[in-house]
């Protein structure tokens, strides 16, 4: 099927990707396509292999079989740093701040090494303001509480000037108004032309921005399509609510 037939440009293409750790299959011949400018939400229970999927796309983990194509280029064997420079950026579910550096310096790393253009100081400042961290610019990242660290993950990812942004659970634990702020930021980033794939457990937040929903369980894609249809499908209900709910 593919998007090409509809005149849509494919940003990312995963073709029967598999990854196993010993006997445990974490990604099971996973195929997945993201069009340029899309906003895709990924749902799935804990341990379904969602973060592994991001690790495979961002290059932190290499697949056993299958290929990854980004902007019509096979990047399966490329390292994480090279993938970031070519436009794939990710935030970590468990934040990895540079604890001994200030918040600004953290973001500056992304703006300096993740993009090709000049003017990294200004760009880092923009990313910091967009993610609402500019007041904490000179604070050591190690002193930030968890929410601040999650926000820093987002700021750093944005500072690399991504074409494809992979967000891994950044809304958990936010208050109602903080969540609204975050969604505004994401809408703004998306409107500027960035393709976004977002793994999130806060379903309500995810549904308010995602144009398409993919559900993952046991390393397999079990549903893929318009959010309302996916949420209505019996397979998704059985994963989330248990078999009994269907009776």
């Amino acid at each position: 099927m593919g998007y090409a037939a509809h005149g849509i440009i494919t940003m990312l293409l995963l073709d029967s990707l598999s990854k196993r750790y010993g006997a445990l299959v974490v990604t099971d011949s996973f195929s997945f396509e993201v069009a340029q400018g899309e906003f895709v939400g990924i749902l799935g229970p804990n341990g379904a292999g969602k973060t592994t999927l991001f690790n495979l796309i961002a290059g932190t983990v290499k697949p056993d079989t299958g290929t990854i194509t980004f902007q019509s280029r096979d990047i399966t064997r490329e390292g994480a740093a090279a993938r970031c420079r070519s436009g794939i950026s990710r935030s970590f579910q468990i934040p990895h701040p540079f604890v001994g550096m200030t918040v600004f310096e953290n973001v500056l790393v992304g703006a300096t090494f993740g993009r090709k253009a000049e003017g990294s100081v200004d760009y880092a400042m923009q990313a910091l303001e967009l993610s609402g961290l500019s007041k904490k610019a000179n604070q050591l990242a190690g002193s930030l509480p968890l929410l601040g660290r999650k926000r820093l993950e987002l700021a750093r990812a944005l500072a690399t000037e991504p074409r494809l942004l992979l967000l891994d659970e950044i809304a958990g634990g936010l208050t109602e108004s903080e969540c609204h702020e975050l969604l505004d930021v994401l809408r703004q980033v998306h409107a500027s032309g960035v393709t976004i794939v977002w793994i999130e457990h806060v379903v309500r937040a995810l549904l308010s921005v995602a144009q398409r929903l993919v559900v993952v369980n046991f390393g397999k894609k079990i549903a893929d399509g318009a959010p309302d249809k996916v949420m209505d499908s019996s397979e998704v209900k059985s994963v989330y609510l248990g078999e009994d709910a269907l009776v």
Partner: protein, 338 residues
């Protein structure tokens, strides 16, 4: 509206820089005011300052804890002897040439030792240094195991009078000592420094933000090796004699250097400077005590490591929140009230 402005220096750091420049000028004029013994002592301090700053860059900032830097000290020394005796090169010109040769040699060495991590890397570098020692001990043209001396004719070509030779060697030592600190400072303020600090805190995050970690580590390793070899070549130009055991001594060129960096403050630019000065003060007062002197050094190192893992400078800068040679970035926000 608010505008942002990024600064990289403070009032204190500008003051420190001016003081440092004044001090360097004073030291450069030392041949005019100091006795030969003082000149030699300052020269030796400068040589250790260079070794300590370079080792700190490698271990404290790049995470490459090498205990085999004597490989490059000895290599540099032997290169100088080879180039001066067998190629007729001017001894002072042989110093940078030795650096270039070491840079070339360090690339295949890096390919080998970079396969090892942590403690294995440390042991691997030591083994490489031992291999260097054994190789040079086999070279009969360089005197084999008993070593060789630099002919006096070569020294006379360098400068006619003994005083002038002493001064030249002193200035070279000053250049290498001050140059190493300046090199480390400027490198850490550059984008490579930003990358190194990031790598120190999280390799995973560094990779996913686009930092090519292996390339940066290799670049630092090659630069440090080249500079260490230049220091080594100067050490043996001053000694006029080289032999494998002295050239590749782990105690003289690595253990003492680690001591200085650790007590001064690893992973800070100021630390190796303080550590080097403190070491020489201790040596001047305690060297007569023989082996008790070494025990005192050992106890001191352990006490400082327990009290303050970031050394004396770490303790001072944490307490006072200051940095004399800052490498970071400070964002200043100015409210624009128009």
């Amino acid at each position: 509206m608010s505008t942002h402005h990024v600064t990289r220096s403070t009032m204190l750091s500008r003051f420190a820089l001016v003081t440092a420049i004044a001090l360097v000028v004073l030291l450069a004029a030392a041949p005019a005011w100091a006795s030969t013994a003082t000149l030699r002592l300052i020269g030796e301090v400068m040589i250790y300052l260079a070794l300590a700053s370079l080792w700190n860059l490698l271990a404290g900032y790049t995470g490459l804890v090498s205990v085999g830097q004597q490989a490059y000290v000895g290599f540099g020394g032997y290169m100088l002897f080879t180039l001066a005796i067998h190629a007729g090169m001017h001894p002072l010109a042989a110093i940078p040439a030795a650096g270039i040769a070491a840079a070339l040699v360090s690339i295949p060495v890096a390919k080998l030792v970079f396969r090892l991590n942590g403690a294995y890397f440390a042991i691997g570098t030591w083994v490489v240094a031992e291999v260097f020692r054994l190789v040079f001990a086999q070279m009969s043209s360089l005197g084999g195991g008993s070593g060789s001396s630099l002919p006096i004719t070569i020294m006379k070509e360098m400068a006619g009078s003994k005083a002038m030779r002493e001064s030249l060697i002193y200035w070279a030592a000053l250049m290498l000592g001050v140059g190493s600190v300046a090199f480390v400072y400027m490198l850490l303020r550059s984008r490579i420094g930003l990358a190194l600090t990031a790598i120190r805190d999280s390799e995973t995050a560094s990779l996913s933000l686009g930092i090519a970690i292996p390339r940066i580590k290799l670049a630092v390793y090659v630069c440090v090796s080249a500079a260490t070899a230049m220091v080594g070549s100067l050490i043996f130009l001053q000694k006029l004699r080289i032999a494998p055991d002295a050239a590749f001594s782990v105690n003289d060129w690595t253990v003492l250097v680690i001591f200085m960096v650790v007590i001064g403050g690893i992973g800070t630019i100021e630390g190796p400077i303080i550590g080097t000065i403190l070491f020489f003060i201790l040596r001047e007062f305690l060297a007569d005590l023989g082996s008790i002197y070494l025990m005192i050094l050992g106890v001191l190192a352990i006490v400082i490591m327990v009290i303050s893992p970031k050394g004396i400078w770490g303790l001072v800068s944490d307490r006072l929140g200051i940095s004399l040679l800052p490498v970071g970035y400070r964002v200043e926000t100015r409210e624009d009230l128009r």
